[in-house]
């Protein structure tokens, strides 16, 4: 018999918003959440409830943790970056200082960090860069040379350029419209950067298409890709089975795995990118328990 894996500690806290500020197209919130701040590591996320306990918007919204300060002036704090794209996220960005939000975390698996001081490239698409600065600091503490690539459609959709310059050895910016940095995509600059730095690991966080491209490039240039995915989640804690995606396991078999507990960080070459169409993932025919003729 194999036991279900032991699961990391997690907290549910009613957190006070102590700061909120606009950063380009995004809102940066600081929450007093001491337990989560104590437990979290880069790459993990938090799930926020929308509205109060009688809210008609039931499903939590998940955000990667931008930063934690375990012993701040107000007690431990957790910072997140939110893009208001629907009613739930609009409610969250409308929170004022001293408002309370219900937070669960830290959730999911953190970015694995190399045991040796190997050069690393960190790639963030839009506000997907949020967890990378914290990761960069940890990697540099371990003696890794760290370069960052920040890409977005336009300058206002970049997040953390100044912070990147502080926390990394080198920063490259790309925008689709050329409003900042190189005109083009992160995939245009990534191959040379991997070659120039001799990077052993490429970390990525952003849209699925970008993560696939990072994985391809890293593979061709001799680096391992570690990517944090953004899947639609209902619960964030592993019980609803909605955030699944096809991933190859250690046994070589593809399974539909929950990105909230087995991710959000996956080795890029384990993800079955061939099964994705935009953000929709079909079940590969060779996946364990895939539908037979006639379907489910």
């Amino acid at each position: 018999m194999s036991s279900p894996p032991a699961r990391a500690r997690v907290a549910k806290e009613v957190a006070e918003v102590i700061a909120t500020r606009r950063v380009g197209a995004y809102q940066h919130l600081t929450l007093v959440s001491p337990e989560i701040a104590e437990l979290a590591r880069p790459g993990q996320f938090v799930a926020l409830a929308v509205g109060d306990e009688s809210s008609a918007t039931l499903l939590r919204r998940s955000f990667s943790i931008h930063k934690v300060s375990p012993s701040g002036t107000y007690g431990g704090t957790v910072e997140i970056v939110v893009s208001a794209v629907g009613p739930g996220t609009r409610w969250i960005v409308a929170r004022a200082p001293h408002d309370l939000v219900d937070v669960v975390g830290p959730l999911g698996k953190a970015f694995p960090v190399p045991t040796e001081p190997v050069p690393c490239v960190l790639v963030g698409g839009g506000y997907g860069s949020a967890p990378l600065f914290w990761l960069a600091s940890q990697l540099r503490e371990r003696g890794c040379h760290v370069e960052m690539v920040l890409g977005a459609a336009s300058e206002d959709r970049l997040f953390g350029v100044v912070e990147a310059r502080r926390s990394c050895d080198g920063v490259t910016v790309t925008t689709d419209d050329g409003s900042a940095g190189h005109r083009g995509w992160v995939s245009d600059v990534l191959p040379d950067l991997i070659d120039r730095t001799g990077a052993g690991v490429v970390y990525g966080c952003g849209p699925m298409g970008m993560l696939r491209s990072i994985t391809d490039i890293a593979g061709r240039h001799g680096a391992v890709a570690q990517v944090a995915v953004e899947e639609a989640m209902a619960c964030g804690v592993g019980v609803c089975m909605t955030c699944v995606m096809p991933v190859v396991g250690a046994d070589g078999q593809t399974r539909m795995v929950r990105s909230c507990v087995e991710g959000p960080v996956f080795r890029g070459d384990r993800v079955r990118w061939d099964a994705f169409d935009g953000n929709h993932a079909r079940v590969p025919d060779d996946a364990v328990g895939a539908p037979r003729t006639g379907g489910h």
Partner: protein
């Protein structure tokens, strides 16, 4: 975390016990709802799952199932649609890993079983019975809201004959002292006729209700939002449907059209007050489902809220409030002739 409230699954102010039949007595009426709690380990990080009256597992079928592609979920007002496609490890892995784990933490388990054919249901039940952790099983929930491949995918629960066949075969596979509960779909013309067929075929109780079939269209793509096109609607939005279904079946029991068996209420319960509504309609136990996605502690929170509410209302036994909204306890007392004429 877990042990702070470990003494709270019973309460010295009120007798919360629930008799499922055959000597299977639960310390309290709160349960998880199948498919909303995985198989326990995830929620055990938030509360001790042995505090619940019973833990209802995700429906398990004979073989491993990948489930459907994504998107599998759409948020709706006070609810959500899901189209998971019964993803699961298969019964062999379930009895090897999940059930022993639940037993090891002291949970009372109500496994939910499913199948694409009545023989698959029977095979799953037989494997469960033969498993080494079977002692933790306090009953079996039979999820008959699955497509029947032999009948062009019509769900068993929409057809009294198909429902009865599954229930009879599962009943044969399990020891007499393990009650089985048929989980009914509200998407039928007359839920009492399905309930009657299930009880007649050997169901020792009924779980009501499963999700309602729904659909959402993505108006940007002008396509169905879910990978599975249609999905099951759940959450507080469907609570009145659950209350209605429980009421109707309880009423049919009172009228002698269905033998009296325990009803497990499920559908849109988010608070202790919501749970009390289902209980007053006739439910002897209550499951918390979609609310768990909003609040991972919801099943135990609802237990504590329900307990406080009943104590506040002056009840000393939970069983006294079951079906209270019908005005008369079950089974119906023989009514004297003069009272009858007054009515």
């Amino acid at each position: 975390m877990a042990d702070q409230q470990s003494d709270k699954h019973t309460d010295d102010r009120i007798d919360l016990s629930v008799d499922l039949g055959y000597g299977k007595v639960l310390p309290n009426p709160l349960m998880t709802a199948s498919g909303c709690a995985a198989n326990g380990a995830e929620l055990h990080r938030f509360f001790d799952v042995s505090q619940l009256g019973a833990f209802v597992t995700k429906s398990v079928m004979a073989d491993p199932r990948s489930g459907r592609g994504t998107p599998r979920m759409a948020e709706t007002p006070s609810g959500m649609l899901n189209s998971i496609g019964l993803q699961g490890p298969g019964i062999a892995a379930f009895v090897d890993t999940d059930l022993p784990w639940l037993a090891s933490v002291g949970a009372r388990v109500l496994p939910s079983i499913a199948g694409s054919s009545s023989t698959e249901f029977a095979h799953v039940a037989a494997t469960l019975r033969a498993s080494r952790a079977f002692a933790a099983v306090v009953g079996v929930e039979v999820n008959i809201s699955c497509p029947n491949v032999a009948n062009r995918g019509l769900v068993f629960a929409c057809d009294p004959g198909a429902s009865a066949k599954v229930i009879a075969l599962v009943r044969e596979q399990l020891p007499r002292d393990v009650p089985i509960f048929a989980k009914l779909s509200p998407d039928v013309t007359d839920i009492t006729s399905i309930a009657a067929a299930c009880v007649k075929a050997g169901a020792d109780g009924l779980t009501m209700i499963n999700t309602l079939l729904g659909m959402v269209i993505d108006t940007d793509l002008m396509r169905p939002h879910l990978g599975g096109i249609t999905g099951g609607l759940s959450g507080p939005a469907i609570r009145p449907v659950a209350v209605r279904a429980i009421w109707q079946v309880r009423q049919a029991m009172a009228e002698g059209r269905i033998p009296v068996v325990p009803i497990i209420g499920v559908g849109g319960v988010r608070t202790g007050r919501d749970a009390l509504e289902l209980v007053a309609a006739g439910a002897s136990a209550v499951q918390v489902g979609t609310a768990t996605f909003n609040d991972p502690t919801a099943p135990v929170r609802v237990l504590h809220e329900l307990t406080d509410l009943l104590v506040e209302k002056g009840y000393q036994r939970f069983s006294d409030v079951v079906g209270a909204a019908h005005g008369s306890p079950l089974p119906p007392r023989p009514v004297p002739v003069d009272e009858r004429s007054r009515a």
